[in-house]
C-alpha cells in the first residue's frame, strides 16, 4: 500500500475482514480536486469588510479590507489573536455568513451561500450525536443524493484514511476528542470538497493527540491534494502545518503580514527550524496579542506580557 510511503506509519491501517488489504482503499474512485486555470486562485478574497452592530448600538468593524489569494492545493494558515475575526473569515468563505462588502471568489465564481466544495471543520467538531460514525461520514453524500452502495464504499475508504474503520458503528459520545476530530475530517473529505476550512480544529485537544493529528492531517493533505485554509491562534501549529502563514491584526482584522514557509515535509513540531519560524511569526504577532489583552483589561491596566513560544 502506498498510503504511508513517505511518512512513518504511526497507525497501521486496520484490515477489516472481507476487505482485501491489497486492493485497499485505492479501489474507490476518488474525485481529484477540480482542476483550475492556474491564472485563477482557488480562493480569492478581495476587499472583504465585515461590520456589525453591537447591543449598545455602535457599529463595530470586524474585518477590514481583507485581500487574500489561496492557490490550489495550498495549505494556508491564518493566525491572529482571539477576536481578530479569523473564524468569521472562514464562515464567509463557507457561505454561512455574509460579508458587508467585498467579494469572495472560488474558482473565479462568487460565493453565494454554502456549497459542498467548501467544507468546514469546527473546533467543537459539529458532528451529529444522533448518528453513528459512518452515518456522520455519509451525511454529506446522502444530501447530495449519492447512491447507497457508493456512499458505503466511500465511507469505508475515508474512515480507513483516518484509521477509524473499527469504530464505524460507534456514537460520537463514545469517542475521544482526537477521534472525533478525525471523524470530522473524514466527514468533510467524504463530500470531496476542493477546499477544507479548518477553524482551530485541534485547539481543544491535548498536546500528544494534537501532534498525532498534525501528522495525519499532513499525510491526508498530501494524499488528497485538497486546498486547506487552517485558522489557529497557535503560531507553532501554523509553522508546523502551513505552506504560508497569514497574520491578522486585532480588531479590526487586517492582513498584517505573510510568511511563506519553505520547510521540507513531513515536519515536526520539535524541529528547530519550525520553532525558529514560529518565533519570527510570534515577534510580529506580539503587538496584536498585547492589544487584544489591553482590550480585555479595560481599567487602564496594560498587561504587557511578552509571550515565549508556546511549550
Amino acid at each position: 500500500m502506498s498510503t504511508n510511503a513517505h511518512f512513518p506509519a504511526r497507525f497501521p491501517i486496520p484490515v477489516e475482514p472481507g476487505f482485501p488489504a491489497r486492493s485497499g482503499p485505492r479501489s474507490v474512485s476518488i474525485a481529484p480536486p477540480t482542476p483550475v486555470d492556474s491564472q485563477i486562485s482557488k480562493v480569492a478574497l478581495s476587499e472583504i469588510c465585515l461590520s456589525y452592530r453591537t447591543q449598545s448600538g455602535e457599529r463595530l468593524l470586524a474585518l477590514d479590507h481583507i485581500n487574500l489569494q489561496v492557490k490550489t492545493g495550498e495549505f494556508l494558515c491564518v493566525v491572529g489573536p482571539s477576536g481578530c475575526g479569523k473564524s468569521t473569515l472562514l464562515l464567509l468563505i463557507a457561505g454561512l455568513h455574509q460579508q458587508t462588502s467585498g467579494q469572495i471568489l472560488v474558482d473565479g465564481k462568487p460565493v453565494q451561500g454554502p456549497g459542498t466544495d467548501r467544507i468546514m471543520i469546527f473546533q467543537e467538531h459539529g458532528l451529529f450525536p444522533w448518528l453513528t460514525v459512518s452515518q456522520n461520514v455519509e451525511f454529506g453524500m446522502k444530501m447530495k443524493g449519492i447512491s447507497k452502495a457508493e456512499r458505503e464504499e466511500k465511507t469505508r475508504y475515508y474512515l480507513r484514511l483516518v484509521h477509524l474503520a473499527k469504530f464505524k458503528d460507534s456514537y460520537i459520545h463514545q469517542l475521544s476528542g482526537g477521534m472525533r476530530q478525525r471523524v470530522a475530517i473524514a466527514r468533510a473529505l467524504a463530500t470531496e470538497p476542493d477546499v477544507l476550512l479548518m477553524d482551530e480544529p485541534f485547539a481543544a485537544l491535548d498536546a500528544q493527540t494534537r501532534d498525532l493529528l498534525h501528522d495525519e492531517l499532513e499525510r491526508i493533505w498530501s494524499e488528497t491534494g485538497r486546498t486547506i485554509i487552517f485558522v489557529t491562534h497557535n503560531v507553532r501549529e501554523a509553522a508546523r502545518l502551513g505552506d504560508r502563514v497569514v497574520l491578522l491584526t486585532f480588531r479590526p482584522g487586517r492582513v498584517k503580514s505573510e510568511f511563506p514557509i519553505d520547510l521540507p515535509r513531513p515536519r515536526h513540531l520539535e524541529d528547530p527550524v519550525v520553532a525558529r519560524t514560529a518565533r519570527e511569526i510570534l515577534d510580529e504577532l506580539r503587538d496584536e496579542i498585547n492589544r487584544s489583552l489591553e482590550a480585555e483589561y479595560q481599567d487602564g491596566v496594560k498587561p504587557h506580557i511578552v509571550p515565549e513560544v508556546e511549550p
Partner: protein, 257 residues
C-alpha cells in the same frame, strides 16, 4: 438483597397495603356497596366489560382518536414552534399569545367546537388538538432555541437545506430538548379526549365511564378509571421512557427532562 429485588418488594408491599385497606374499608360496609365497591366487584366489572367487548371497543375508539389528534398536534406544533423560534416577528406577536392560550383549559374549546363542527368526531378531535398543540409548539420553540447552533451550520455546510435540513438535522438535533414537551402534550391530549368523551355519547372510554354513573354501577366506574390510568401510564412509561432511553444512549447524556 439486591437493589432490584428490594425495589420490587417495596412496590409489592405498597400495593398490597393499598389493596388491603380498600378491602377492609369495603368489608366494614361503612358506605353502601353501590357507593364503595369491593375490589372483586371492580374485578368482575373489568372481566365482564372485556368479555362483552365494550371495553375493547372503547379502548380502540379512544386510542384511535387520541392518536389522530395527537399526531395532528405534533406535526402542526413542530411547524408552528419552528416558525416562532426562527422568526422574530412571529416570536414577538404569536409567542405571547401562545403562552396565554395555554392557561385556557382545553375543554373550554368544546362549546366552540360543537358550534363549528357539530356533535361529532371532529369536535372531539378539535378539543384534543387544542389541548396538546400548545405544549408541543412551546416545546419545539424552546428546543429550537436550546439546540446548539453548530448543528444547523454543519448541516447547511454539508449541503442540507429546506426540508432536508429540517428532517435530517433540525428535528433530530432538537429531539432531546423537546421530548419532555412531547410527553406533556401527550398527557394533555389524553385528558382532553376523556373529558370531551364524557360530554358526548360516542363509544370511547369517557362515555363508558359516564355510562357507569348513569347505571349507578360504581364498580364499572372504578374499572374504567383504572383502564384510563393504565393506558395513559403505558404510553408514558413505555413509549416515552423508551424514547428517552434511546436518546440517552445515542447522545450519551441525560436528556432535557
Amino acid at each position: 438483597m439486591k437493589p432490584g429485588i428490594k425495589r420490587v418488594a417495596r412496590f409489592a408491599i405498597f400495593y398490597a397495603a393499598l389493596f388491603g385497606l380498600w378491602t377492609l374499608l369495603a368489608e366494614l360496609k361503612i358506605w353502601p356497596p353501590y357507593l364503595f365497591p369491593t375490589p372483586w366487584g371492580v374485578g368482575e366489572s373489568l372481566y365482564a366489560g372485556f368479555q362483552d367487548h365494550t371495553y375493547w371497543i372503547a379502548i380502540r375508539v379512544s386510542m384511535e382518536r387520541v392518536l389522530i389528534g395527537y399526531g395532528i398536534s405534533v406535526v402542526l406544533g413542530m411547524i408552528l414552534g419552528l416558525g416562532v423560534a426562527s422568526n422574530k416577528f412571529l416570536e414577538e406577536t404569536m409567542g405571547g399569545l401562545l403562552v396565554s392560550l395555554q392557561s385556557l383549559p382545553s375543554i373550554c374549546w368544546w362549546p366552540l367546537a360543537l358550534l363549528w363542527f357539530g356533535l361529532n368526531q371532529n369536535a372531539i378531535l378539535f378539543v384534543v388538538v387544542m389541548g396538546s398543540l400548545l405544549s408541543v409548539t412551546l416545546a419545539m420553540e424552546d428546543g429550537r432555541k436550546q439546540m446548539p447552533k453548530i448543528f444547523g451550520m454543519a448541516g447547511r455546510n454539508l449541503g442540507a437545506k429546506g426540508f432536508k435540513l429540517f428532517w435530517y438535522v433540525m428535528l433530530p438535533a432538537s429531539l432531546p430538548f423537546i421530548v419532555s414537551g412531547l410527553k406533556q402534550g401527550w398527557a394533555f391530549a389524553w385528558r382532553s379526549l376523556i373529558t370531551a368523551e364524557m360530554l358526548y355519547l360516542s363509544l370511547g372510554l369517557g362515555q363508558v365511564l359516564m355510562m357507569g354513573r348513569d347505571l349507578n354501577d360504581m364498580s364499572a366506574v372504578i374499572a374504567v378509571m383504572i383502564l384510563i390510568i393504565a393506558l395513559g401510564y403505558i404510553v408514558d412509561g413505555v413509549v416515552f421512557k423508551g424514547m428517552e432511553r434511546h436518546l440517552q444512549n445515542k447522545w450519551g447524556l441525560t436528556t432535557a427532562t
